[in-house]
C-alpha cells in the first residue's frame, strides 16, 4: 500500500478527510474497541502535555518540549508497535510513552530534572531520549543489526523531527540501514519547524520521504494529523521490518502547535493565522468526527474520557513529585561499572562538605 503513494510525485497518504469520513478503499479495518483505545490514548496525551506546561509555569517542572498537535503521529505509530519492538525516541514523544505503557510518572520525573526518569523500566524496550539531534538514528540501526544477528523478528523504530534530517547522523544511519537491510522504521515528525527554522530551510528536496530513494528503500509521506493514515503506514512498515523486507522512511506531515520548548516563543517567527489554520486540522478533532460517524463518540463518552485522562495525569504528577531527589552517591555510582579510587575520593570529599551543612 505504501508504494501507491510516491513521494517523488507529491503523493501523500491520508485516510480520514476533514469531516471524519474515510477515503474509499483505505479503511485500515480496526475494531471499534481499538479505535476507541486510540482516541483515549490521544486524549491522555493531550491532557498530560497540557498538565506538563502548567507544571512548568508553576516551577514544578523544568524546560519542557510540548507535544500538542503530534498526537496522531505518536499514538498512531505506537499503536502499531508490538512489545518486542524497540523504540529509539528523540525528545518529543509523549504519546508513544503513554501508548506503550511507559509510566507517565517516570516521564514527568525526567522533565522535573531527575536521571531516574531515564531508567527505562525492565521489560520495556525504550532507549532513553536523545537530545543531540539525530544521534539516535545510527543507534537505532545498530539495534536493527543486532536484531538481525540474533534472528529476532522485531522492528526497531526511531523518531525524529524535520530538523534532524539535516544532520550527518540521519544520512549515516539511513545509509547503513539500506546497505544492511535492517529491520528499522524511520519515522520523521515533520512539524514544519526546528525551533524557529522552517522546514524549507532544512532541505531543497520537495519532501523528506523521497530521501529514502537515495538510500535504496521505500519512503512515504503521510498526513501526520490523520491517526489512521499514520497507523496504516506504520503497520505496513513494521511488518516489512519484522519479516526481513528491510527499512522504511515515513514522513508524517504535521504541525508543532506549541512552542519548541517552554523556553521558546513561537510568536516571534510565525503568525497567529497560520496556527489557527492548523487548529482546524487538529488530530483529535478529526478522529472524534470519525468516531462520531461510526456511533462510537458522544458527549457522555467524551466526559468519561476526559475524566479518566485527568485522573491518569494527576496520579502521575503526585507519584513523580513524591519521589526523592538523587543521593550524592547516585551521581557517582554509575559513571563506571566499578567506582575508581579517584571518584571515591571525590565522593567522600563531597559528603564531608555536605556533612558540614554546606552546599
Amino acid at each position: 500500500m505504501i508504494e501507491l503513494f510516491d513521494p517523488l510525485k507529491g503523493e501523500r497518504l491520508h485516510v480520514l478527510d476533514e469531516t471524519g469520513g474515510i477515503v474509499p478503499g483505505l479503511d485500515p479495518g480496526l475494531a471499534d474497541a481499538e479505535l476507541r483505545a486510540i482516541y483515549e490514548r490521544m486524549a491522555r496525551t493531550r491532557a498530560a502535555d497540557a498538565k506538563a506546561l502548567k507544571l512548568q509555569r508553576q516551577g514544578r517542572l523544568g524546560t519542557y518540549p510540548p507535544s500538542r498537535g503530534h498526537e496522531a503521529c505518536q499514538v498512531g505509530l505506537a499503536s502499531a508497535m508490538a512489545g518486542e519492538d524497540w523504540l529509539f525516541p528523540y525528545f518529543r514523544d509523549l504519546g508513544m510513552y503513554i501508548t506503550l505503557g511507559y509510566p507517565l510518572a517516570d516521564y514527568y520525573h525526567l522533565w522535573m530534572g531527575n536521571e531516574t526518569g531515564l531508567k527505562t523500566p525492565e521489560g520495556l524496550n525504550f532507549f532513553p531520549i536523545a537530545i543531540p539531534v539525530a544521534s539516535q538514528i545510527p543507534q537505532a540501526v545498530g539495534a536493527g543489526l543486532a536484531a538481525k544477528y540474533r534472528k529476532l523478528p522485531i522492528a526497531v523504530v526511531t523518531t525524529f523531527g524535520d530538523g534532524a534530517t539535516s544532520e550527518g547522523d540521519f544520512h549515516e544511519g539511513l545509509n547503513f540501514a539500506g546497505v544492511y537491510r535492517t529491520p528499522n522504521v524511520f519515522f520523521c515528525l515533520n512539524n514544519q519547524f526546528a525551533i524557529s527554522v522552517p522546514r524549507a530551510r532544512q532541505t531543497a528536496a520537495a519532501t523528506i520521504a523521497q530521501k529514502a530513494v537515495a538510500y535504496g528503500f521505500p519512503g512515504v509521506q503521510v498526513d501526520g494529523n490523520d491517526v489512521l493514515a499514520v497507523h496504516a503506514a506504520a503497520r505496513e512498515a513494521l511488518a516489512n521490518a519484522r519479516s526481513g523486507r528491510g527499512p522504511t522512511l515515513i514522513e508524517a506531515f504535521t504541525y508543532r502547535m506549541g512552542d519548541h520548548t517552554t523556553s521558546d516563543d513561537a510568536a516571534r517567527y510565525r503568525s497567529k493565522e497560520e496556527v489557527q489554520e492548523w487548529e482546524r486540522r487538529d488530530p483529535l478533532l478529526r478522529f472524534r468526527l470519525h468516531l462520531a460517524k461510526k456511533g462510537l463518540w458522544d458527549e457522555v463518552y467524551e466526559k468519561a474520557v476526559q475524566d479518566a485522562a485527568v485522573e491518569f495525569v494527576e496520579k502521575a504528577v503526585a507519584e513523580a513529585e513524591a519521589r526523592p531527589a538523587a543521593a550524592p552517591e547516585d551521581l557517582f555510582a554509575y559513571t563506571y561499572a566499578a567506582m575508581p579510587p579517584e571518584l571515591e575520593v571525590q565522593l567522600a570529599d563531597l559528603k564531608a562538605f555536605l556533612a558540614e551543612g554546606r552546599r
Binding site: 524497540w86 529509539f88 536521571e115 531516574t116 531515564l118 531508567k119 527505562t120 525492565e122 532507549f127 532513553p128 543531540p132 544521534s135 538514528i137 545510527p138 543507534q139 537505532a140 540501526v141 545498530g142 539495534a143 536493527g144 543489526l145 543486532a146 536484531a147 538481525k148 544477528y149 540474533r150 529476532l152 526497531v156 550527518g168 547522523d169 549515516e172 544511519g173 545509509n175 547503513f176 546497505v179 547516585d330 554509575y334 559513571t335 563506571y336 561499572a337 575508581p340 579510587p341 579517584e342 571518584l343
Partner: protein
Amino acid sequence: MIMTMVQAINRALAQEMERDDRIIVLGEDVGRDGGVFRTTEGLLERFGPERVMDTPLAESGIIGASIGMTALGLRPVPEIQFMGFIYPAFNQIVSHVARLRNRTRGRFTVPLTIRAPYGAGVKALEHHSESTEALFCQIPGLTVVVPSTPYDAKGLLAASLRGDDPVIFLEPAKLYRAEKQDVPEEPFEVPLRKAAIVRQGKDLTIIAWGAMVPVARKAAEAAEAEGIGAEIVDLRTLSPMDRETFVASVKKTGRALVVHEAPKTCGLGAEIAATIGESALLSLNAPVLRVTGQDITVPLPKSEDLYYPGPERVLRAIHRLMEY
C-alpha cells in the same frame, strides 16, 4: 609464542570472539582486507560476515550503530581506521558512549571497545599521527587504554573486551611490528586501571605510555651509564589512571618526568604533575618536568622528528632533573 603487537591483538580478538558470540567486529576494511594494519586478518574467514563487518565509510555511523548493538546485548568492537578519523564520532562517544550508564542509572551500559591506531613516529600522511588521548581522558565514564608491548596488548585487549565499561583502546602504530615478544598463546587478562613498573631505579621516575615507553627505556639506559637510575612507570590505562603506583614511585625517587607525544598544554602530563603535587610534594627534590610534543600540529614526515620526543630530549630532561 613469539609475536608482534599486531599478532597479539589479532590473537586476542580471535580468542575472545571464540568464547563470546556477542562480540562483533566492525569498521572500514576490517573484513576482506583484514584491516589496513592487518590486525583483523583472518577473522572474516573464521567468524563470517555477520560478525566481521566491512562498514560504509562513516565513523559516527559506526560508533552510533555499535551503541545500538549494545542495547540488544551485543559487545561490539568497532575499529576507527586512525585516531585522526575518530573526531566525526566524537559526538557519539562523548554524548552517549560515556554517559549512558550514568543517565539511565545502569539500565543501559555500553560494553564496547573502540580500537584505533594511535600516535606518530611512522612518517605517515597528514592526520594519521594523532595523539589526542587527553580529550577522551577528560570525559567521565570512558576508559582509555594504551599498550606498549605485545604481551600487554593481548592482555589489556582481552580485559577490555570482557569488562562492562566502554573502552577506547589506542594501539601505537609505531609499535605494531617494532618488537617481537614471547606471549602466552592461551587467553589471559592484564588488569585495567593498573600501571606497571617496567624498570626499577632510585633516582627519578619516568611516567610514560605507548611508544614513549621504549623511548624512555633508551634514555634510561644512557642515564644508567652515567650512574643515574631511572624508574619507568608504564601507565597502560590513562583513564581511570592508576595514581597510586606513580605516586609511590615518586615518593621513593623524589624526581618525576612525564614523557608523552601529545602536545604539552593540557596533555596528561599536566594531570600527572598536579597529582604528584597534591600527593607527594614533600618528597620532591625538583619540579615535575614534562617532555612532550610542542603545542603545534604534528608536522608532516620530513619534520616529524623535530616534534616527536626521542631519547636525546628525554636524557636532557633527566640531566635537568638531577641538577636541582
